[in-house]
Subunit: 265 residues, 2 copies
Amino acid sequence: MQTAAAINATAPSFEPSSVCRNASCDAAMRARGDEGCTKSSELELLAQQLSIGRRLLREGDFIYRSGQPFTHLYVLNSGMAKVVNVCADGREQVVGLQFKGDWLGIEGIARGQHGCDAVAMDTGEVWTVRYDALVEACTRCPQLLTMLHAAMSRELSRERDSMLSLSTLCADARVADFLHRWAQALAERGLRTDQIRLRMSRAEIGNFLGMTLESVSRAMSRLARMELIRFGSEGGRRDIEIPQVAALERFVEGTLAPAPARALQ
Amino acid sequence: MQTAAAINATAPSFEPSSVCRNASCDAAMRARGDEGCTKSSELELLAQQLSIGRRLLREGDFIYRSGQPFTHLYVLNSGMAKVVNVCADGREQVVGLQFKGDWLGIEGIARGQHGCDAVAMDTGEVWTVRYDALVEACTRCPQLLTMLHAAMSRELSRERDSMLSLSTLCADARVADFLHRWAQALAERGLRTDQIRLRMSRAEIGNFLGMTLESVSRAMSRLARMELIRFGSEGGRRDIEIPQVAALERFVEGTLAPAPARALQ
DNA sequence: CGCCCCGTTGATCCTGTTCAACGGTCGTGG
DNA sequence: CCACGACCGTTGAACAGGATCAACGGGGCG
């Protein structure tokens, strides 16, 4: 871990204005009515404007695989999926978790070939859209284009926020942030945020967060000990209860800059 | 660091096919004539189809700032820039380095507001394009749309590759990979790859790579001791010479999976 | 000159990895 | 039925890689 800030040395940064800046200040975002996903109304538009395919998914199904030629984009209509970046040298990492309304396959456009695996983590449904048809439809319907670009933009922002968490937060905070963002994703979709059913093993979470499964396990135990999360009363250790989401967020912020120049206390 | 792979437990991954999968296998990519940036011919198209603004940049100039309303996209025509993700809680991180032909500002589309700072690291020029005008032009000219989407797609892929490096490579390999990718970016633009002038301090590099400036310094010293890089003969320690780019790449791969089940040797 | 920033290197410490053991659950098959 | 193995999650102990703290030399500039 390193001290945040302290870059921008050549160009002194101005005051950290009160405007909401990115994902981690979600309260303001929700207040503004933003959505972290493509809204149902937009999905309807999509269905009206061009013919889409629907495909049912079961856990473990591939939506697409790295190396396959790129032809379609996908929108998750229910369930959830993970995106796994797989590298020629064998490294692979979960680089994203997608929920209802999220788009998949964008990374394939540039190279005409998918660069990741997309795997369903649950039963669900994807809508499949031929990319060429989508482009054609976009020229007819600018709203569609706006929607698509917004989706791409969101993916990029999310990836960047992940990077930031990855390299500025310590293990416990990373896990806390992970859970917090999961809850946030649920909230944006109008779902309950106090109960999360993780559909990944500790190993997968660790892979996503850049740490070992043991560290994930320990971090979760500590978070539970701090009452920031609770494990599902009956079942497995993958059911996480979050008494108060705000507390989790405060914890994440509390871990950085232990004492940043304040009056007393 | 954790063992790569070992995820995808539910769905056994198939053999690592020989197809080129993502950024780190660049040789095949170059052979295929792909470009990691928007080509000059495409930029001409852009200029033909709509009125673009040009802005000269000096080191430290902001192209845009986090929090500003989103109105334009930008294409770097010369020089280079860094993208700094700045979070409400004060954390900030360099999340991308952009070269000629790269697009900036995409992350602002979704929220109507930029989520990062974009700062010139050198004298150069950006083309500024009103986003609404661009969208309008795209409806007229599908090639333009294709170009834009390719740019967005590339950004996403790049970010994901950064994430992968961030969480699977050790310090020395991260620095090596960083230099390697820099050289690659130059190569894609037809520039010399054996000489790199870093335009960032060790602190900035460290911030980008998720490590401290001391670790960056040490890693570079070690790479130099291994003859994988050389420091500029005369001037500062920011001029890096790469005798053979391939060797750097091999080093990166060599650091992971010390001995992955092989016959003998 | 004094100051500041930069890069380097050394010494020490700590976080997270690694190695290991254990309990629980599930599915299979004797 | 239970034995068995595979997988998962947890926890402990030892280790190591990188962070932290510190000192030093060099260069640019007021």
